[in-house]
Point group: C2
Chain length 612, copies 2
């Protein structure tokens, strides 16, 4: 007596392996899946059958034919079941039975039932796999990438792929509801190198010419605004031929957004709503809106970083004024030389870090250029707080009190300082702060702390090439208050830009764009791009701006990164179905690989062996 | 007194140009858009303001300040309005007024109102554009592609982009509702040339090696099934470096689908539902399901084509038996030589085609290799029907009657025949049929006639290379009834394949796949790929099949083509935001283009001038 077909039923199955409950008891069902587990208890074969939707326990009982009418299992079927091994693919028909008292498995959604098999078809035998997708102990990543089809059967990876699908779906539903159009922009584009290296594609029809894969659809989306699309989004594939880190891939996906007739506020509000939808629908969390906002200057001041992890405090404090007066040479000389002394106060950490641990922290900040780390334990003696450390003697009681007060420290805390030029102080302390936050478990890793960082500098100095270069890209609008400084003080000019930071990751980045061709040329001039070069590289955008460009602004969210954040994963390869290694290789297919000489000939190129 | 903000309102506008109705009369609104039309009636300036959402009439009346309280228009603003020209971008604030009797424009959604401007900001002036997006007469395609940002402002193209967005949205909602996961597969893949040429991407990290852009995600989606994804779909970008026809582009999008634990029926039913959703939501048409089905053999027999346009009849009839007996040498010799004589009956067409027109049709079928076209007018004489033509004398009265009966012809019809080997007869008549259907207006162009063509041949003979090759791709399952013929009679082996045809276009194509590695190797053997070559090219798929591949089947729909069909367009470049020319060039950005020598050096390639 089959129940109504589920939307997941097919010609071969009535239900999935995650679907049966006690309400199905008595039904005859057919399931398909992979043998995940095989146990033989005195001739009765128990199998956990696995598909994407779950696990169901199958029972092959040779005596069932006698015990249970209608559930007959003949000897041949029983023998077939005894021959099953892990990862074999089978179809089973049988009756749903309630499990006996004490035999229920509360950890399994289907744990209240089992299917007593009456028929078994082996759809495909599996060779002994190089690893078991269900194993507790995972083999090395290389083996898993080579046999990605086995790795993909791991429930954890399947949940991640589902989360990725749902995040994409929520994104599309959200923008569709606000009148945005998803427009597909070309993958075969023009090379306009800016920042990262392009992947190039030789043209067969145009000898000696090349397409480039897009680093982002930036120019196309601005063109769409000039074209009147009004509101655009796209989940866009982007490409950067760069040396890879653990959170980078040669190809990645971004949620690309652009809006016309807007100001910064419109973009921020729109994305606030999207992030709240992610949090609610994917993590069951209510996020209060608007998301917090910091200027770039405030972020550096309070956290030393433009992508602060705000799941915890541990804010940086400046004691340069006190340091200037003290007898500790490292401190007072740094301040005298124009540097800063800043630090943070790790709560209740004084007893947790031994001298050796503190040497470790000193080496750690050294990775960001800090020449040392000054540390003090905060103690209470005779009712008064003071600093305790070999270097404490260089500070008067008043100076110690001032520092303790500046840090809002309490006994048992650990105070840590770096004295150096501001960029080194920030880099060292920001990383130290993240490390301490993690080591001291100052936050709940499942929390989502998203915030906006606003008003990045428009340009930064490329000291090597002795020129200004765009911090974000050369299409960012200039903060209206800073237009006057474009020529007099470029370093002080703020862009109308914004980054969305979540849990310490840069999770989105965007800006109001320039829509006036004259302003665009001024910015090109500033970064040393004369009108000839600008025309050659971005002529079509400059042309477009001439013919009625609306005010527009946009943003791009790193989709892979959002999946990482929401799935609480730290390796980008765990959120992509077919990722590449840090050497940009696909270990399963062997890409990149050799090609026929005839293919290269048709493309009018030849390979050149690199110098040894 | 502004109404509630629409979801399309922004910091700069309260409403779009398509939104205001008589219910808004009395409200003060702000609109943004492009000047589409400028008229000066005795000092009163009328402007049609355009955005993606519509057109709204603006009125700048210099006397309004006196006539209408609160709608004051100062002289400076009026002067500014008089300076506006086509494609200028403006923001206007004013009051919504009902248009007077007789002044309403029923063709315009906003035609009941106008906005009397009190404030005007010119957001961006436009240079005189090379063409007006609103012009009745469109300039040549080349100019429009070069200035695509102007072309994209055309309402027709904007409606097409909206339709494309909605089709994608419907697709995703549909598959999501059935438990499919959208999984992104790599763009940087391995070259496994089969059929079309690959686009190649040189690797910087692996000198001398190349990635290839995917011709389809075929292998990845099969790997996903082996990986337990169960139901996969993706709107996937695909690439073919082929010479382009009017309905082809170097990059195109396909709705890519694969399902596990299914038979053919599951795929057909799933896609039936999708097509019904397209028809209903995008064209307001109810389509009755299941869609009609023909075997490949039936399609050739009845329509001469595996992609018949079934919006009209005009089916082919075989008269080879009669032709064998007649005195007309072309006919009887063809049949004697193993050929066929087949034809069709164009209703009421006898008087519509002159001798010269018939010569034209003869030349037309000649393009498909037919050496001639026999034509007969069907006439009634003394109560009996007969054939009328110079060649009619070679047919007895009985033979003429037999032919007329075979065609179900009536007086006034035009009977047309081709005598040749079957492949030529089919090609010639199928194309003739399509031409006559169009010329005789035998169908409503807005109709949607979708059907399945099933059971294509598994392999075809490549006479040049004297070998069998896969008709679809080498992963198609073999029709269960034909497995025995794989060695004895490959030409007669049917694949478990299916094409979805709509209005004469191949609109989707798929098959049940091979999931048994031994069968896969048998098919590779048949098409002359030994296990060494198969291993080199498809080793990872063969490996995957070894470790527990489920039965699976899938399909891919041409997304661009579906947009063409549903928008009733015939040029694929009209359904893509940034298309390429038939020479695979992007006229706007200038892609492909030159790149720096340094870029090529890093990629370990150099260009080779083609031989003159």
């Amino acid at each position: 007596m089959p129940g109504p077909p589920s939307s997941l039923s097919t010609s071969l199955r009535t239900h999935t392996c995650g679907e049966l409950r006690e309400g199905h008891v008595g039904e005859t069902v057919s399931l398909c899946g992979w043998v995940a587990n095989y146990r033989d208890h005195g001739g009765v074969v128990f199998i956990d059958l696995r598909d994407r939707f779950g696990l169901t326990q199958l029972v092959f009982d040779p005596d069932a034919g006698e015990k249970l009418s209608g559930d007959g299992l003949n000897a041949a079927t029983h023998e077939l079941a005894r021959g099953l091994r892990g990862e074999d693919v089978v179809r089973v028909t049988g009756a749903v039975h309630a499990r006996g008292e004490g035999l229920r498995n509360p950890k399994l959604a289907t744990g209240g039932i089992e299917v007593r098999a009456s028929a078994l078809t082996v759809l495909n035998k599996s060779a002994t796999p190089p690893f078991e997708p269900g194993a507790e102990q995972l083999p090395g990543e290389e083996l898993r990438l080579k046999h990605r089809y086995l790795d993909l059967r791991r429930p954890k990876l399947q949940r991640t792929m589902e989360l990725r699908h749902r995040l994409s779906k929520i994104t599309r539903d959200y923008f569709d509801g606000l009148g945005f159009l998803e427009v597909e922009t070309p993958i075969l584009g023009r090379s306009t190198p800016e920042g990262a290296r392009d992947y190039l594609v030789p043209s067969r029809v145009h000898p000696g010419e090349f397409y480039a894969l897009p680093q982002s659809p930036q120019l196309y989306k601005q063109i769409l605004m000039v074209g009147g699309t009004d509101r655009y989004f796209q989940i866009a594939r982007c490409f950067r031929d760069e040396d890879l880190r653990s959170d980078r891939q040669p190809e990645f996906s971004q949620v690309d957004v652009e809006m016309s007739f807007v100001e910064r506020e419109d973009v921020l509000t729109t994305i606030d709503g999207l992030i709240a939808a992610y949090a609610k629908e994917l993590r069951g969390k209510e996020i209060s809106l608007p998301l917090p906002r910091l200027t770039h200057a405030e972020a550096l001041d309070r956290f030393g970083s433009d992508k602060p992890d705000t799941r915890f405090g541990l804010e940086l404090k400046d004691i340069s004024d006190v340091a200037a007066e003290c007898e500790f040479g490292v401190f007072n000389k740094t301040v005298a030389g124009g540097g800063k002394v800043r630090g943070l106060c790790a709560p209740d950490a004084a007893a947790k870090y031994s001298r050796k641990d503190l040497d470790g922290l000193t080496a750690f900040v050294g990775e960001w250029g800090a020449k040392g780390l000054a540390w003090f334990r905060v103690v209470e003696e005779e009712g008064a707080m003071k600093l305790q450390a070999p270097t404490a003697k260089f500070f008067t009681a008043e100076q110690q009190s001032a520092i303790i007060e500046r840090l809002s420290a309490k006994p048992g805390d650990l105070a840590l300082f770096v004295a150096d030029k501001p960029s080194v102080v920030n880099a060292a302390l920001a990383n130290l702060r993240n490390r301490l936050g993690r080591e001291l478990a100052l936050y709940d890793p499942s929390e989502l702390a998203a915030l906006w960082v606003l008003e990045f500098p428009l340009v930064g100095r490329n000291e090597e090439e002795n020129r200004w270069e765009a911090e974000h890209h050369p299409f960012c609008a200039v903060h209206p208050e800073d237009v006057e400084k474009l020529k007099s003080d470029p370093a002080a000019v703020r862009a109308e830009s914004y980054d969305l930071v979540c849990n310490g990751y840069e999770a989105a980045s965007g800006s109001v764009r320039i829509h006036d061709p004259a302003v665009q040329q001024t910015v090109f001039d500033l970064i040393g791009m004369d009108s000839e070069e600008a025309g050659r590289r971005f002529g079509f955008l400059l042309d477009a701006l001439k013919y009625g460009a609306p005010p527009h602004a946009g943003i791009a969210l790193g989709l892979d990164r959002w999946v990482m954040i929401l799935a609480q994963l730290e390796n980008i390869r765990d959120v992509i179905a077919f990722p590449k290694t840090q050497k940009a290789a696909d270990l399963m297919t062997g890409a990149p690989g050799d090609v026929d000489g005839k293919q290269l000939e048709e493309l009018h190129i030849r390979t050149v062996a690199p110098p040894k």
